[in-house]
């Protein structure tokens, strides 16, 4: 008999600007370990029951290398019996970790998984220390290695996303994140990070009082005649997130607080030069597998890698912005690559419960031309 899979917990670290933010000097394995430890303590799960720590990371080398997931099990003081694997699907890494746990549970290969993600964009350069593209492919099919900013410009061109619309979305994202922060709606999900004598307890990327007028003065950063600016791109960010994914029967038997049931999952490839459109096909596939239409979805977490990218998906899918990213998106909160998938999926699950709704979707784009999506339902 196929088991149901549920999300029974979601937390994250505060998100901070890379290089200049409060987490810049904290190692990524340390951030991830504190978040994982925070999750198990908050939920009160019997850690001996955990099968595996599946940790997403976009650039798993250096401090993020050496199968960081296993290192994090030690740092988080999980029992020695808990295994650890590091997963890479670039920005989709930690949503992928949730999908892998779901598959394993349904395969009857364990009942409880920690599905986490982390990225220190301060301590690991974008692309890693030694990016070594296949020279033949790089010559014949350069979009395979195209920089993300250029793909956002390509989308802005292809889908006619004006600079003004990109800036409006940025302002909304900051306003919503700022409101959520000030009304305490982000407090529950944040595990403060302790670094020496310092405790980093709140987000660092959200800008209070961002206005469209202030953004209009910025210069394009990826193409001299382009429309994408630093403000309409998600910032380089440090942070980690973690979810607890279990079988529904285990959660119920041990009294875990279920946030949502995973209804369907999907990944889909797309042209790499417009990688930001990836969520569209992934979402269509996941909806079809769930037997739902977008109109049925009450809560949407659509990652904002770039405003132009998110708006292209909004236009293509016909997304209602009123139910999308209601506590702000990555433009305001930040986008620590490997951590984002577990953040938006955990957040969608938590919002289902908080808002008392039935269906939620989390979806995001992935460098190289992919999308990933998850559909959740209230239990």
């Amino acid at each position: 008999m196929q088991k149901n899979v549920v999300i029974a917990g979601y937390v994250r670290s505060p998100f901070h600007f890379a290089k200049k933010g409060s987490l810049a000097r904290v190692r990524p394995d340390e951030i991830a370990a504190q978040v994982v430890r925070g999750l198990v303590e908050k939920i009160g799960i019997n850690t001996a029951d955990i099968e595996d720590l599946i940790l997403g990371c976009a650039f798993p080398e250096g401090e993020q290398g050496l199968n960081m997931a296993r290192i994090v099990t030690f740092l988080a003081k999980l029992p020695i019996s808990v295994a650890g694997t590091t997963v890479n699907r670039f920005c989709g890494s930690s949503m992928q970790s949730i999908h892998m746990a779901a598959g394993a549970i349904q395969m009857n290969a364990g009942d409880a998984f920690i599905c986490a993600g982390v990225e220190s964009m301060s301590r690991m350069p974008m692309g890693g220390y030694n990016p070594m593209p296949h020279p033949g492919l790089a010559a014949d099919y350069e979009q395979a290695y195209m920089s993300m900013g250029v793909t956002a410009e390509n989308l802005a061109d292809k889908y006619n996303i004006s600079r003004q619309r990109q800036e409006e979305l940025t302002v909304i994202s900051h306003q919503r994140a700022n409101d959520a922060r000030h009304s305490g709606r982000l407090t529950d999900e944040i595990i403060p990070i302790v670094h020496g004598d310092i405790i980093i307890g709140s987000d660092g990327c959200i800008r209070e009082g961002t206005t469209a007028a202030a953004l209009a003065d910025l210069k394009p950063v990826f193409r001299v005649d382009g429309s994408v600016t630093a403000a309409t791109s998600s910032p380089l960010t440090d942070g980690a997130s973690a979810t607890l994914v279990t079988s529904e029967e285990y959660a119920k038997a041990t009294g875990l607080p279920i946030l949502a049931r995973i209804k369907s999952i999907a990944v889909a490839g797309c042209a790499p030069e417009i990688m930001g459109i990836g969520p569209v096909n992934a979402t269509i596939k996941a909806l079809s597998r769930a037997g739902l239409s977008l109109a049925d979805i009450d809560i949407i977490e659509l990652n904002e890698a770039f405003a132009a990218q998110a708006l292209s998906c909004v236009d293509e899918l016909g997304v209602d912005m009123e139910k999308t990213n209601i506590d702000g998106g990555a433009l305001a909160l930040g986008h620590p690559l490997g951590a984002t998938g577990a953040r938006i999926t955990g957040k969608a699950a938590a919002l289902l419960q908080r808002e008392g709704k039935q269906f939620a979707l989390s979806a995001q784009c992935i460098g190289g031309g992919q999308g990933i999506a998850t559909i959740l339902e209230a239990v």
Binding site: M132, P133, P135, A138, V150, R223
Partner: protein, 781 residues
């Protein structure tokens, strides 16, 4: 009797104005922790705001006060209320506050109550007599007190005037002198306690005399500056440009101060004139470059940028006119005398101002300093004159100078008459440079202990070998000095020939080679005209052999069985940088501006610059491991044509190795380089042939992607992409590069050669070179 020197380990500077802050910065440059104190402004939130604000301003300002941003950490900001007690720990307290004797005196009394007994106190005053400053102060304070007067900007201007009082202990003077000479790189001039000391006494006279002479004649300020600058060996700011640079508002104050302090018979009084035009400028906010303009201003009205100059007669601004004076043409054919004897307004102006100033300087020995050497040093180090007043009189000819003065019925001082009798102020006898003292005797020009100059060696000996582009000198103890002496010290095939000949000779007869010269820059690179000729004749085989010869010559230098030490200073660019990179060690002057700037002319380094940078970055232990960080670093340095802002910066970029040395005093560079060479010559081992592991085509892909991104972002041009692709191929190791197979230096040099000559055959490169030759600026094609 041995003199007890205070070791200067910690310094405090009081007053964080432009001078105080920059003096503190230069102490920090020298590696000394320095406390910078100022007042607490009313209602200040940050009580150290004046000092910390000054430090922040220096980090942004230009020219840079710090040799390296890290030096700024050695300056600790503080304030006179909370931190005064900290003065008890410092070895030297430098006062650089407002020029008011009573305020200074009160501060000294407070300092005297906290300073430790051995602490030295100095003032940076430029106008107040030392005797006035120490009135009413304790004997023990007066023993430790002197005037140490820096020039603006202190990092760059070499002059330090030292003035002692009757009670100042000799060891206090020698402590500061030694520190200033060795650690700060200053040229010290001992002055007597007279108004304006030496440099400003003459400099202010020159400026006032020039201003008065210009007002009294038809000369325009553009003409006055054209005449009173390069043609007489004075910086191109000239006279009115210097007013603007210093700040016009200072002049009436300085003029009044000099007039009140100088004795009635002093010739300064006769140069004074109506300053109403200057006062009008000040009232309108035209205080010079720090204000909205001065004698010159940049008119931005109507969206344009027009440089305008003040008309001294009408008081109006008008666009700067190109200067066309016959007297300026006469300089080119007949030298300085051609200018001074020319009857047009340029010649008359030059003669009037220079004769006034030089005669005045001659009247000041020994009133302001013991000898003419001190006075000439003061003007060359403090006002950046190429020659001081007495060297200038020698250029004109002292006999001609005196007879022209007499013919005009002007008084001639005894000292000038004496000099005219013996023929010159300076002479060379038996390889010794001598100066005329006030008694009419010639004395050898003394050198500070340990100073070694090629200039002196040349007087006493002939080169070991020489051709028209370079010479090899014996500088003693088995060490040789290789000197390039072409125009702007460009490197050509003659230079390569002489290096190869020198190597053979040194192998037989000597221990080491130092590469060094005493021009204004070490070398601005390969002789670019030679490349133009080859391109125009499409002589590609010759181009290849020219490249190959440079490469094999530099490799021979590196791999010879004796050590080669390069001693760069000023600019060492392109080929001039490559020869430095191929030396076995570097002893650099602190003001060394190194760079591989070939991309500016559409080329890549071809005499081993690419290879040398890869080798340097591959042994760098700080950067991340793997083949990509190495080529990324080299690509960044070369594709952006990075030029170091100092020798410390050159270490950061990687031109200097971590153990290469840095010398602050330009006159000690050769001696330090020689000492380094001798040290290396003990048990010298030839460096092993370098092998570098490079990624090959995958690395080229990543660098090419980077440059295309830059192009998309508007930061690189079409032809930048062509040049950078060639550079990317060299730096990634070409087709042969692979992570499993190290490449030799020779492999990489062959790649450099291939791509260099390939780029030469491209019109884009020729366009860049021709544009550079015509305008001096890079073409963005």
């Amino acid at each position: 009797m041995t003199i007890q020197h205070t070791v200067i380990k910690k310094i405090a500077v009081i007053g964080s104005g432009v001078m105080g802050a920059q003096i503190a910065a230069h102490f920090a440059n020298a590696g000394v922790p320095t406390l910078l104190l100022d007042m607490v402004p009313k209602d200040a939130g940050d009580r150290n705001i004046l000092a910390s604000g000054a430090i922040a301003k220096m980090l942004k300002g230009s020219p840079k006060a710090f040799v390296h941003n890290a030096a700024a950490k050695r300056v600790t900001p503080g304030n006179l209320e909370d931190d005064f007690d900290k003065l008890k720990d410092v070895d030297w307290i430098v006062e650089a506050i407002i020029e008011d004797p009573d305020i200074k005196s009160n501060l000294y009394k407070k300092i005297d109550s906290v300073r430790k007994d051995t602490a030295i106190v100095s003032s940076n005053t430029s106008t107040i007599p030392l005797s006035r400053l120490v009135e009413g102060l304790s004997y023990s304070f007066r023993q430790k007190f002197l005037v140490a007067h820096f020039f603006n900007p202190p990092r760059y201007m070499r002059l330090l005037e030292l003035v002692v009082g009757p009670d100042t202990k000799p060891e206090v003077l020698s402590t500061i002198e030694q520190f200033a000479d060795h650690r700060l790189g200053k040229g010290v001039v001992h002055c007597y306690d007279r108004p304006g000391f030496v440099a400003n006494r003459i400099g202010i006279f020159w400026m006032q005399s020039g201003y008065a002479a210009a007002l009294a004649s038809d000369i325009t300020i553009e003409e006055a500056d054209a005449v009173m600058s390069r043609p007489v060996g004075i910086p191109k700011t000239g006279l009115f440009g210097l007013f603007d640079l210093i700040g016009i508002d200072l002049h009436p104050k300085i003029d009044a101060s000099m007039a009140s302090l100088l004795p009635a018979k002093d010739d300064y009084h006769s140069q004074r004139c109506d300053l109403s035009l200057i006062n009008q400028l000040i009232n309108e906010g035209y205080t010079g470059r720090k204000g909205k303009g001065g004698f010159y201003r940049l008119n931005r009205s109507g969206g344009g940028k027009v440089m305008e100059a003040k008309n001294l007669k009408t008081g109006d601004y008008a666009p700067v006119q190109k200067v066309d004076l016959e007297s300026l043409k006469a300089v080119k054919t007949e030298g300085l005398s051609g200018l001074l004897n020319h009857p047009d307004r340029g010649g008359q102006f030059a003669w009037r101002v220079l004769s006034n100033t030089l005669a005045y300087a001659a009247s000041l020995v020994p009133e302001v300093a013991d000898d003419i050497v001190a006075i000439d040093r003061a003007m060359t180090f403090g006002y950046a004159w190429k020659a001081g007043p007495f060297a200038l009189i020698d250029q004109i000819g002292v006999v001609d100078f005196v007879s022209k003065m007499k013919a005009e019925g002007r008084p001639v001082s005894n000292f000038l008459t004496l000099a005219a009798k013996v023929g010159s102020f300076y002479r060379t006898v038996d390889g010794n440079r001598q100066y005329l003292d006030v008694t009419g005797e010639y004395q050898n020009i003394p050198r500070e202990a340990g100073v070694l100059l090629l200039e002196d060696i040349k007087l006493k000996s002939d080169p070991i070998i020489s051709n028209q582009s370079a010479s090899l000198w014996d500088i003693g103890d088995g060490v040789t000095c290789f000197e390039v002496h072409t125009k702007v010290n460009a490197l050509n095939m003659d230079v390569m020939d002489l290096i190869n000949q020198s190597i053979n000779l040194i192998l037989k007869n000597h221990k080491a080679m130092v590469i060094y010269n005493e021009a204004s820059n070490f070398s601005v690179g390969a002789d670019i005209n030679a490349f133009v000729a080859l391109i125009e004749q499409k002589s590609w085989p010759e181009a290849r052999s020219m490249l190959a010869k440079g490469q094999s010559t530099f490799l021979a230098l590196k791999r010879s069985s004796f050590p080669v030490v390069a001693a760069p200073f000023g600019m060492a660019l392109g080929g001039g940088c490559e020869i430095v990179l191929y030396a076995n060690a570097i002893q650099a002057h602190v003001e060394s501006y190194l760079g591989l700037v070939e991309v500016g002319v559409g080329l890549i380094p071809g005499w081993g610059g690419c290879t040398a940078m890869l080798e340097r970055y591959s042994v760098n232990k700080i950067s991340p491991k793997g083949p990509i960080p190495i080529i990324n670093a080299a690509f960044e340095t070369i594709s952006m044509a990075k030029v170091s802002g100092s020798a410390f910066d050159a270490k950061d970029i990687g031109f200097l190795r971590p153990d290469d040395g840095i010398t602050f005093n330009r006159d000690r560079l050769l001696a330090d380089a020689k000492a380094r060479a001798l040290e290396l010559a003990e048990n010298y081992e030839i460096p092993e042939v370098a092998e570098i592991t490079l990624p090959g085509p995958t690395g080229r892909s990543i660098l090419s992607t980077t440059v295309r991104d830059f192009k998309a972002r508007g930061l690189a041009t079409d032809y930048d992409v062509v040049v950078c692709d060639a550079l990317a191929d060299v730096l990634s190791g070409g087709q042969a590069g692979d992570v499993t197979t190290p490449l030799s230096e020779e492999d990489l040099l062959a790649l450099e050669l291939k791509h260099f000559v390939g780029l030469m055959q491209n019109q884009g490169t020729l366009d860049r070179i021709q544009h550079m030759l015509k305008t001096g600026k890079p073409l963005r094609n």
